[in-house]
Amino acid sequence: MKITFPHMGTLDIILSDLFTRLDVDFVLPPKTTTKAINLGVKYAPEFACFPLKVTIGNLIEGLEAGADAVVMVGGIGPCRFGFYAEIQNKILHDMGYDFEMITLEPPMADIKDFARKCKKIASKKTLWQILQAVRIVWKKAVAIDEVEREVLKRRAFEKNSRDTTVAHKKGLAVLKEAITPYEIKEAREKALSLINEVEKDLRRCPLKIGIVGEFYALLEPYVNFDIEEYLGQKGIYLERAVYLTDWMGPSKKNSVMGIDSDELAKAAKPYLSHFVGGEGQTTVGHIVKFAEEGFDGVIQLLPFTCMPEIIAKSVLPKICKELDIPVLTLIIDEQTGRAGVITRLEAFIDLLWNRRKKKLSAVGC
């Protein structure tokens, strides 16, 4: 059995490592590019959400490269994501691919099923060995996210454009090679110091923007037009609401972002008092939190037709007004042009600077 899986941000690094440790035969599809998107758009239903289209593109490329099994995660919420694996299974089989779909449903839904499927993927290892491997790789995944968090904060200060991006790539390469928990710890330090060593101008007083929204749109730079790198190079300090390990982690505590889900639900309560699927409620919670922390603005990213984020968007006018924080919503799919996104981002940055200038002049600065 040769396994493939779709891309999402740095997921490929983490799963490659895990599968190697577990002696699983796997094939990594090429990174998401226009080619994968075009393939997905061709075979997915027009009104499906964008992540489904892109991941179908990834899987086609993975199957073409020789895979005969696909690993996907399922879901039990009202968001359509929980149904992706079923749809992918059907579409890819209709296209004539012969493969087996292994869908990992959330363990709390059916722990036995989860264990059985893990055993199926890593058939040469015992459950205990699988658990040990997951624990170590998890440490690496958290380290990768923590490094990314620093990149987002520090890029705003870099003296030479792209230096932080280069340092980040080097850091990831170091982390990739780390095997033992000790090496992972060392690699994390090394990656952080690489980013720290980038020449900075600390006199800058950058705008602070929080990025919220649907996790796939946030985590996959190719589909969000590298928005974080673009904003960072424009000298903007960024914090992102969701990291890969926060999203995958079983606990309510979001270790990387630093706010747990109960706290977010509480923050969202005056505007959205219950779970609506996906990140709908946490998006609202994060916007409130960013406003309370004095951020200049928030950018919400969502794929076209994303139901939970549309619900979050519908309460935005009230939040913006009551908490006095501008929010820019960007809706992404294969029809979205980069030029349109850049125009809106430029205008949003101007708007935030003008607001800040006005606030400063109001207090006599």
């Binding site: 090429p30 590019t33 226009t34 076209f304 006018p317 949003f348 101007d350 708007l351």
Partner: protein, 319 residues
């Protein structure tokens, strides 16, 4: 005499404006882009020069619009700004107390909310261009009425027809249907205006608090039918600034003036730039699987600008 040049190259029109030290509009050009932004700017500069006093010295130049980077290279801009900011700057300049700017151009429409002279929110049409200038143009042509007359016809309407405005294709079928049923052409035209305004308010302006004073600008502001439909729907008075069609260019000129400050050094290449042969070419980068299309702008073999890549390795921008 000292002047500041503003250039706004959009999908449909290319506008050039020169303002003086007192920010009065000295002269302006509104012409079609015709899918060729470089020549539109060059020809526009040539025409503009004819209109300007001979002794004019351009102390700063700004570009805006969807071709702002390209036109920035062509004219030698001191500042390149997105059209949302440019429109906001121009609107709050002509009406300092403005709180809402409605802007409908050739292929995009936007709304800008200002409070006390500062833009606090904006939106731009995302998934649909229904109700923008291109569509009105097309319909005017189909009905056989000059676009300039479109608004006057709308004002004559007594019983506006209901036209489906969510999608331009369906709006067109609906208009044809109403024509075939025997409705008056003015009722159909005003019905169209009403449905476009509904569409704009339900999409672009969704969730925004529209407060008076309201300014309506962009090429479509020439259409009095749309203005009337806005006023009827909102129950508020709509102002149309004198130079409504070139407000983006005025904004760019104002920004150029602000940038120039007391400095006299402008990178403006002069009106003779209209004789330079700008060559554009493109190629696909093979560096990775992204296959980015890189665009190059050259003059006499010298590369002035290069862009289009995702990783930044080809990027050269002079402005």
């Amino acid at each position: 005499m000292i002047g500041y040049l503003g250039v706004d190259v959009g999908s449909v029109s290319t506008n050039l404006v020169v303002i003086d030290e007192e920010t009065n509009v000295v002269s302006y050009i509104y012409r079609r882009t015709m899918g060729d932004p470089i020549h539109a700017v060059q020809n526009g500069l040539r025409e503009l020069k004819e209109l300007l006093p001979a002794e004019i010295v351009i102390n700063g130049a700004g570009t805006t619009g969807s071709a702002r980077y390209l036109s920035g290279v062509v004219v030698g801009a001191d500042i390149v700004k997105n059209e949302i900011t440019a429109h906001a700057v121009a609107a709050s300049h002509v009406a300092p107390d403005v709180q809402t700017v409605l802007e409908i151009g050739g292929q995009d429409s936007k709304i800008i909310i200002l409070r006390e002279g500062v833009a606090v929110d904006f939106a731009m049409n995302t998934v649909c261009a229904a109700g923008t200038g291109s569509f009105l143009d097309h319909q005017a042509e189909r009905i056989g009425i000059p676009i300039e007359e479109f608004g006057n016809y709308a004002l004559k309407s007594q019983n506006p027809a209901q036209i489906a405005g969510r999608c331009t294709v369906f709006a067109e079928s609906d208009m044809i249907h109403k024509q075939q049923m025997g409705y008056h052409v003015e009722d159909i035209i005003y019905g169209l205006c009403q449905s476009l305004v509904r569409n704009y308010l339900n999409n672009v302006a969704k969730g925004k608090e529209l407060m008076s004073p309201i300014i309506f600008q962009g090429g479509v502001a020439a259409n009095l039918g749309i203005k009337k439909a806005f006023e009827e729907t909102l129950g508020m008075e709509i102002m149309i600034p004198k130079h409504y069609s070139v407000m983006g260019a005025i904004g760019a000129a104002l920004l150029a003036k602000e940038k120039a400050g007391n400095k006299i050094e402008s990178s403006f290449k002069g009106f003779s730039t209209s004789d330079i042969d700008f060559k554009t070419s493109s190629f696909h980068c093979k560096g990775c699987s992204n296959n980015c299309e890189i665009v190059k702008i050259e003059v006499d073999g010298e590369v002035l600008a290069r862009w289009g890549g995702r990783c930044g390795k080809w990027e050269i921008e002079q402005t």
